[in-house]
């Protein structure tokens, strides 16, 4: 399977201290995405020109030879046993902190078979599993994943379908249906709302999101508000692509906005947490 990062001491990707596995490839193209290198399923070479020391002869495509890692291969093939071995290194801290492993991306469900195999193996090893997903996938896929993980972390980006298409490239219809399905199945999940001033922090979207969440038979009732920041910009430069090509206005939410969203959720009976 193609993994582009393994992050230890991940403290914002579910309960406790976790190791997060980043799958490469995503069906969505969110304009604000902070890791656009996860979009393509193919390994890529990223170039960070700040690190470049202009060697007389550049290693070019042979990025592993780049002295400074200015050129870096993003996405490597991992075998399941090797991945498990890497994850096992953190067993003690996962157990002591009530943490575990989070599958993230990209979109892990885009790699259904690999993701499922990994989750099953983690289950055999007794490790707690989270899946951070857009839920842009077939219901059967989600059902099978749900049987093999403890918690989902699900993004709720925009309620207006036209806007959703405009900003993420796909319709939210499947996503909202799948959220409902998860709730009805009794699966455990957190909702995460990325807050981007200018895109989804308006009263209407927040109101509609809350109204939607209220209709769910959902025990956890916990929403993480993730304030937008523009780290994606730098990643696009490294990929040689353009960030926000259509020039949408996107800003980090002000403290007032964060507060307003948090209050609205709290008043509706949800637990709102700023940050992951």
């Amino acid at each position: 399977m193609i993994i582009f990062d393994i992050k230890r001491y991940a403290i914002n990707d579910g309960p406790g201290i976790r190791t997060t596995i980043f799958f490469k490839g995503c069906p969505l193209r969110c304009v604000w995405c902070h890791n656009p290198e996860s979009w393509s399923t193919e390994p890529q070479i990223l170039f960070n020109k700040n690190k470049c020391i202009h060697c007389p002869k550049c290693v070019g495509k042979n990025a592993d030879e780049c002295p400074t890692t200015a050129r870096e291969i993003c996405g490597r093939e991992w075998t399941l046993p090797n991945l498990i071995k890497e994850i096992e290194k953190e067993r003690d801290i996962m157990e002591d902190s009530g943490g575990g492993v989070t599958l993230c991306g990209g979109e892990p469900l885009m790699h259904f078979e690999d993701a499922l195999a990994l989750l099953k193996e983690l289950g055999k090893h007794g490790l707690h599993r989270c899946v951070d997903t857009t839920l842009y996938a077939k219901p059967e896929v989600i059902k099978e994943i749900a049987a093999n993980c403890e918690i989902f972390l699900v993004d709720l980006k925009l309620m207006d379908d036209e806007k959703h298409k405009q900003y993420t490239g796909v319709s939210n219809k499947i996503i909202l249906e799948n959220i409902r399905m998860l709730a009805e199945m009794g699966a455990d999940f957190f909702i995460r709302i990325p807050l981007i001033e200018g895109v989804n922090t308006d009263e209407t979207n927040i109101h509609d999101s809350i109204e939607f969440l209220k209709t769910l038979p959902w025990e956890r009732k916990t929403v993480n508000l993730l304030p937008y920041h523009d780290v994606g910009k730098d990643k696009h430069i490294r990929m040689g692509s353009q960030y926000n090509p259509k020039g949408y206005e996107m800003k980090a939410p002000s403290d007032e906005t964060l507060d307003r969203c948090k209050q609205a959720l709290t008043q509706a009976g949800f637990t709102a947490i700023i940050g992951g």
Binding site: R8, I17, I53, P67, T68, K89, I93, S97
Partner: protein, 799 residues
């Protein structure tokens, strides 16, 4: 879980008295006092040679206690100072005598200034300096050492702690709270009466030492009595009835302690303070003096006071806060031979232990432990240092409360693991009970409180020894042949050959250091016995022997090894790129180091980014680190010292990794010349890139129980400590590290931006305390080099 500070009536923080005392302490400049030197010099002139040295030292101490200017300030409840006024630091010419030039430098340098008047400098020049010429401990040491030792010392292969200060690192157990000095004196007299001058060949020596101890009891009692009298005089004149009553109480307290065992919390605190001052007045021991597990010692008095209605929590907190101010009133004595640029610190490394376990292994955290955390957070002074002790059975609440103080970013408290350090001590031969009553003093060094003389003797620069090895025994910086000729590494055909060569050099330098350690220990035994401190360290009275002569129950000598991260990275670089991958030849690496990587940035970058380094939970590097560590242990451990004890190692660097880096050329791991080497057992700067959990796993592979302490610095940005949820995760990190056998971990909670801004606008960051090594210091008081290093320490930002 309840994260609230307990007893909400105290949320108001410092009361008005403590605010005033704290302000006075912060506003008072640090000065140098020549009073002690004058009293001592006059006494020595008249008496040296007329009595045994132990008695001479005790009478000298008595003379100081009798004659020194005493001070009781407005608002004070706990009284007495080391100098004539707060923050006036005495000198100790019998150990090391400041020159006129030193005094001028100290008076005028920008950092850590000690002001002194021209008049005092003139008096010092006339009265003090001539007498001590040729008679100081420092001269005794430097006149004795071999050329090889001196050259290695000046090249920075090792340092020597005891050339300027007496060995210290001493912490107290609870006995002073149960026994007054009159009882102690009676015990001493009984001991003298029982001496057997026929069958005990040491009886005369013992008699002299015991008599000296008895004089030391009298001296401390006299010192307290003088304060009682002064308080009475002040009370008689005082018109404010509240203050009058306070002064009368002070007089009562000082009449009672230290002659008798304390009866209430006030007396218990004043008791400790007199003992503290006695110790730092008779000699200038490293790490001043330390009350040890003060929460355990004070708790019975607190409990009794609360129960019988004579004490409230607020009053108890006020009294303990007064003690905290007293600690901060005692800046460390300055060194001699100082340069204007050299940075020192006012911090004298009192490291108070709270939480942890009692002698039966039960959790010892009590309400005073929490109260002290509150005090530390409210006062945030430079001194005293504070550490929380987190055993497996320590409540999570206490760890969380401690981490919340750490979050403030003042650098305190550091975090220690009793479950490991008890094992360190029992492994080194201490009984389980004595080990449990022990803890950590100074930076991270472990000791059996109240029962052990553990002398730290100096740092060993392991990367420097590698540099010397890579140059066949020659030091390219000092331009001298310092080590053995272990061969030109260009001719080596395997990594093992290089490692063996380093190993030979390391043993050579350890031996060189030990030979002088033993000599210095004898000099302290012969010329500077600590007859007052000996009263409080078991079994000095029982044995009739001084603290410096093997009187303590346990007698340890430590060598502190530094640079484990740096040397490991150097070894992995050479192993991988020269002997395994053949990417570079040894000659290429050595040539690059020689020219400080000039023109070799490509190589340097490749090494920095493509070598397994220590601190990443990478077996390749960690295996080498473990080997280096074990070989250091084997080289040092178990060597006999002069006091019937043994030498051990610990892994501490304080700020010495800066000095050691400054004398070290560029190293194979891509470190530029003169840049700091790694601190304590932390990974080298910028070497760890897999987060704090990988760091603790790497560190967990060292059998830390073989040391007398290790040190791990982790720098966290405030972002990682924002929410209670994050603090909880940090608490798990601590718990897991300790499960791996970690001895110590400390957190610097600051962001780089803040620090850069503090460099630019020092005025706005006057109270910015950051953790340096085993202690915290004001960022403003540091050299630019040290500031830069603090900034460069890997920032574990998990955004």
């Amino acid at each position: 879980m309840n994260f609230q500070i307990k007893n909400p009536e105290n949320e108001g923080g410092m009361n008005e008295r403590i605010k005033r005392l704290r302000k006075q302490c912060f506003d008072t400049p640090t000065t140098l006092s020549i009073e002690r030197a004058l009293i001592e010099t006059a006494f020595y002139k008249e008496n040296y040679g007329t009595m045994p040295v132990a008695v001479l030292r005790a009478k000298n101490f008595y003379e100081i206690c009798k004659k020194k200017t005493i001070y009781i300030g407005d608002d004070e409840l706990i009284v007495a100072e080391r100098g004539p006024v707060p923050k006036a630091v005495p000198t100790f010419p019998e150990l090391t005598c400041h020159s006129v030039e030193d005094l001028h430098t100290l008076n005028s340098r920008e950092l850590q200034r000690y002001t002194i008047s021209q008049e005092d400098i003139d008096t010092y020049e006339k009265e003090v300096i001539p007498y001590w010429k040729g008679k100081t401990q420092r001269e005794r040491i430097f006149n004795h050492v071999s050329k090889e030792w001196e050259e290695a010392y000046h090249a920075g292969v090792f340092t020597e702690f005891m050339e300027q200060r007496a060995a210290g690192h001493t912490a107290m157990d609870g006995k002073m709270y149960h026994t007054g000095l009159l009882d102690v004196k009676a015990r001493i007299e009984k001991k003298i009466s029982e001496l057997d001058y026929i069958y005990d060949p040491e009886a005369t020596d013992k008699q002299q030492e015991l008599e000296a101890m008895a004089i030391s009891c009298d001296a401390a009692i006299l010192f307290a009595e003088r304060h009682a009298e002064l308080a009475e005089k002040m009370a008689a004149k005082e018109t404010n009835p509240q203050r009058k009553a306070e002064l009368e109480k002070i007089a009562d307290v000082c009449h009672w302690v230290p002659a008798h065992a304390p009866r209430d919390l006030w007396e218990a605190i004043q008791m400790y303070w007199f003992v503290h001052l006695g110790t730092v007045t008779e000699l200038n021991g490293w790490d001043s003096m330390n009350p040890g597990h003060i929460d355990q010692h004070l708790y019975p008095f607190y409990k009794k006071g609360i129960e019988d209605g004579t004490l409230t929590r607020d009053k108890a907190k006020e009294l303990i806060s007064c003690l905290w101010i007293k600690f901060n009133n005692q800046p460390a004595p300055p060194k001699v031979g100082v340069t204007a640029l050299e940075s020192g610190t006012y911090n004298d490394f009192t490291n108070i232990n709270i939480g942890g376990i009692d002698k039966n292994g039960n959790s010892a955290t009590n309400d005073i432990s929490y109260m002290i955390l509150e005090i530390q957070e409210e006062l945030h002074e430079l001194q005293p240092g504070l550490s929380i002790h987190i055993a497996e059975n320590t409540p999570d609440d206490f760890l969380m409360a401690g981490l919340k103080v750490i979050r403030q970013g003042h650098g305190y408290p550091s975090v220690f693991n009793p479950d490991t350090y008890v094992k360190e001590m029992t492994r080194a031969g201490k009984t389980l009970e004595d080990a449990r009553e022990g803890g950590c003093s100074g930076c991270i060094e472990v000791g059996a409180f109240g029962k052990e003389a553990y002398l730290l003797t100096g740092y060993l620069n392991t990367p420097k020894i590698l540099e010397i090895t890579l140059n066949n025994g020659y030091d390219p910086i000092a331009k001298k042949q310092l080590g053995l000729k272990t061969g030109d590494p260009r001719t080596f055909t395997s990594f093992e050959q290089l490692y063996d060569a380093w190993h030979k050099q390391m043993i050579y330098f350890v031996n060189l250091k030990l030979s002088v350690n033993n000599y210095i220990e004898r000099m302290f035994s012969l010329y500077a016995p600590a007859t007052f401190l000996s009263l409080y360290i078991d079994d000095c009275i029982e044995k009739g022997k001084d603290y410096y002569s093997g009187g303590a129950r346990y007698n340890t000598t430590y060598i502190q090894c530094t640079g484990l991260g740096t040397i490991t990275d150097c070894f992995t670089t050479i192993k991988k790129h020269v002997f395994e991958d053949h990417r570079y030849t040894m000659d290429q690496i050595l040539a690059a180091c020689d020219k400080n990587f000039e023109g070799e940035e490509q190589m340097r970058q490749y090494i920095r980014n493509h070598t397994p380094f220590f601190g990443n939970d990478d077996e390749y590097a960690d295996t080498i680190a473990v080997k280096v560590y074990n070989d250091l242990v084997d080289a040092i451990e178990g060597r006999p010292n002069t006091r019937g004890g043994q030498t051990h190692l610990n892994m501490l660097s304080t700020t010495c990794h800066n000095y050691f880096g400054s004398v070290c050329g560029a190293t194979p791991n891509g470190r530029f010349a003169h840049f700091a080497i790694s601190d304590g057992t932390s990974p080298a700067h910028g070497s760890d890139s897999h987060g704090p959990t990988a760091v603790i796993k790497s560190l967990g592979k060292l059998d830390q129980t073989k040391s007398g302490g290790t040190l791990l610095n982790v720098r966290f940005t405030p972002a990682l400590f924002k929410r209670d949820e994050d603090i909880k995760k940090c608490a798990s990190l601590v718990r897991t590290y300790f499960k791996f056998g970690g001895h110590h971990i400390q957190f610097n909670i600051v962001d780089t931006e803040t620090l850069r801004d503090a460099q630019k606008h020092p005025d706005q960051y006057k109270d910015l305390l950051v953790r340096v090594a085993g202690y915290s210091d004001y960022f403003n008081d540091m050299t630019e080099q040290l500031q830069n290093e603090i900034i460069a320490r890997t920032e574990n930002s998990a955004v």
